[in-house]
Each structure stands twice: as structure tokens, then as C-alpha cells.
Amino acid sequence: MSVGINHFIFLSAVLFGLGIYTIIGNKNIIKIYFGIVLLLSASLINFVTFSNFNGFNPEGQITIFILSALFILLIFIGGLIGYNYYKQYGSIELEQ
């Protein structure tokens, strides 16, 4: 059986699960930030896969470019929030 759409969706589901585990299983701000990056990359794999559904659709690629610009902004803002948290509280571990 050749590799089709559902192989890629399965891969993105695995990445999505690992991202969610990284977010809820860690109390370190930087690890939570890594989990958000894993979630974003899982969603982008889905977008790229469905742009290949039933031939090649360039509309999906346009959506991906807009989303990736938003994601880069979001990543930088998240890093700044983590750094300011460290400056204010002296630690990057979230308290219980």
C-alpha cells in the first residue's frame, strides 16, 4: 500500500498527542513552550496534507503562509513572556 493522506494525518495525530503531553505533563515554562511548537507543527502538517487532496490545491499553501507568519509572531511573544516571568519571579517553574 502506497503512502497516502491518512499516513500523514496519523503522523500529525501522534505529534499532536506528544505536544499535549508536553504541555500538561511539565511545570517548566520552556518545556510548555516546546509543546506549543510541536502542536503548531502538527497542525501545519495537516494543512499541507489536505492541500494535496484530490490533486494539488494552491489555496492551502496561501493559508499556510499566513498561518506561519502568525506562528512566528506567536513564538517570539511566548519567548518574551517566559523571559519576563523569569525576571519577575526568579524561576521558570510554574508553582502549584
Binding site: V3, L11, F16, I30, G35, V37, F65, I75, E93
Partner: protein
């Protein structure tokens, strides 16, 4: 056939490095595992006819690398290899999330797709070396400038 082999190799790399990123207790190790995951994901974008977005994704990785390499040295205790005591493996959440992944994958597997296969014949990797060649050079220049600036900033902070 070759596309199948490429897919399986990069899928194994993605899953293993994402597991290291999720379960490793050393933060620097999980950071570099995250970079490896994202680079392997951009290799999958090349298979899926979006070479341009693969290049953009490499810029995205370098942006995350700057964030981590600039901000982690300021938080000095992260460089120590001692493991964080607060990060313990939660078995209940592992089981719940693996159930979620199983449900999603069973839904995907039981769907009757209109057209299951991806047309790999449209793809031509020569586009990277002909049409997108200026962009490749631009990405290389931007990435090298970013690395140089990071080194400069780190040197300035250390002195």
C-alpha cells in the same frame, strides 16, 4: 516506492525525536530534539509539493533557535545537567493521550476517502535548484547573519 521509504524514514525520526523532546528531563537535550523534529517535518513538506514552505519552515526553526540560544544562557541554572524534580512522568495523562491518538487514528483509518492517494508525479525537486534558487541563497544568507548576530550578542553578554 522511493516516496514510501522517504516517508517512513522521516516519520521514524519525527516520532523518536518528539518522544525525546516530551520525556527528556534535560532541557538542552529536548531543545535540540525539537530542532531535529522540525527539520524532519520540513523534509516531509518537500515530499508534499511545498518546497517554498519547507524553506520558510527552516527560517522558523532558526527563529526558535535564536529565542532559545539567547534566552537560555540568561537563565543560568538551565545549563547545569541536574534534572528538574518537578517533571515526573504522569501515567494517567500518558494513557489518556494515547487513547486520544488511537481514537483520532481509528477515525482517520475508517474514513472512506474520495481519493486516497497523493499524486507524487507532479513533484519535481528541480524547482528547488532552478526557480527557488535565489530564495535558497537568501535563506542561507539570513540564517548565517542570524547565527553571527547570536554569537555576537552572546559574546557581548559574557564579557
Amino acid at each position: 516506492m522511493t516516496y514510501d521509504i522517504i516517508y517512513y524514514v522521516f516519520a521514524v525520526v519525527i516520532v523518536l525525536s518528539a518522544l525525546v523532546c516530551a520525556f527528556s528531563k534535560n532541557i538542552m537535550r529536548s531543545a535540540f530534539a525539537l530542532f531535529l523534529t522540525l527539520i524532519a517535518v520540513s523534509a516531509l513538506y518537500v515530499i508534499l509539493h511545498s518546497e517554498l514552505f519547507a524553506l520558510v519552515n527552516i527560517l522558523f526553526i532558526s527563529g526558535i533557535a535564536i529565542m532559545i540560544l539567547i534566552f537560555i544562557p540568561k537563565i543560568k541554572f538551565l545549563f547545569s545537567t541536574e534534572e528538574s524534580q518537578l517533571n515526573k512522568t504522569h501515567f494517567i495523562s500518558v494513557i489518556t493521550i494515547s487513547l486520544l491518538v488511537a481514537i483520532i487514528s481509528s477515525i482517520v483509518a475508517s474514513t472512506r476517502w474520495q481519493r486516497f492517494e497523493i499524486n507524487y508525479d507532479v513533484n519535481s525537486y528541480t524547482l528547488i535548484f532552478s526557480k527557488f534558487m535565489p530564495l535558497v541563497i537568501l535563506v542561507a544568507i539570513i540564517a548565517s547573519v542570524i547565527i553571527f548576530l547570536t554569537k555576537f550578542i552572546l559574546k557581548k553578554n559574557n564579557s
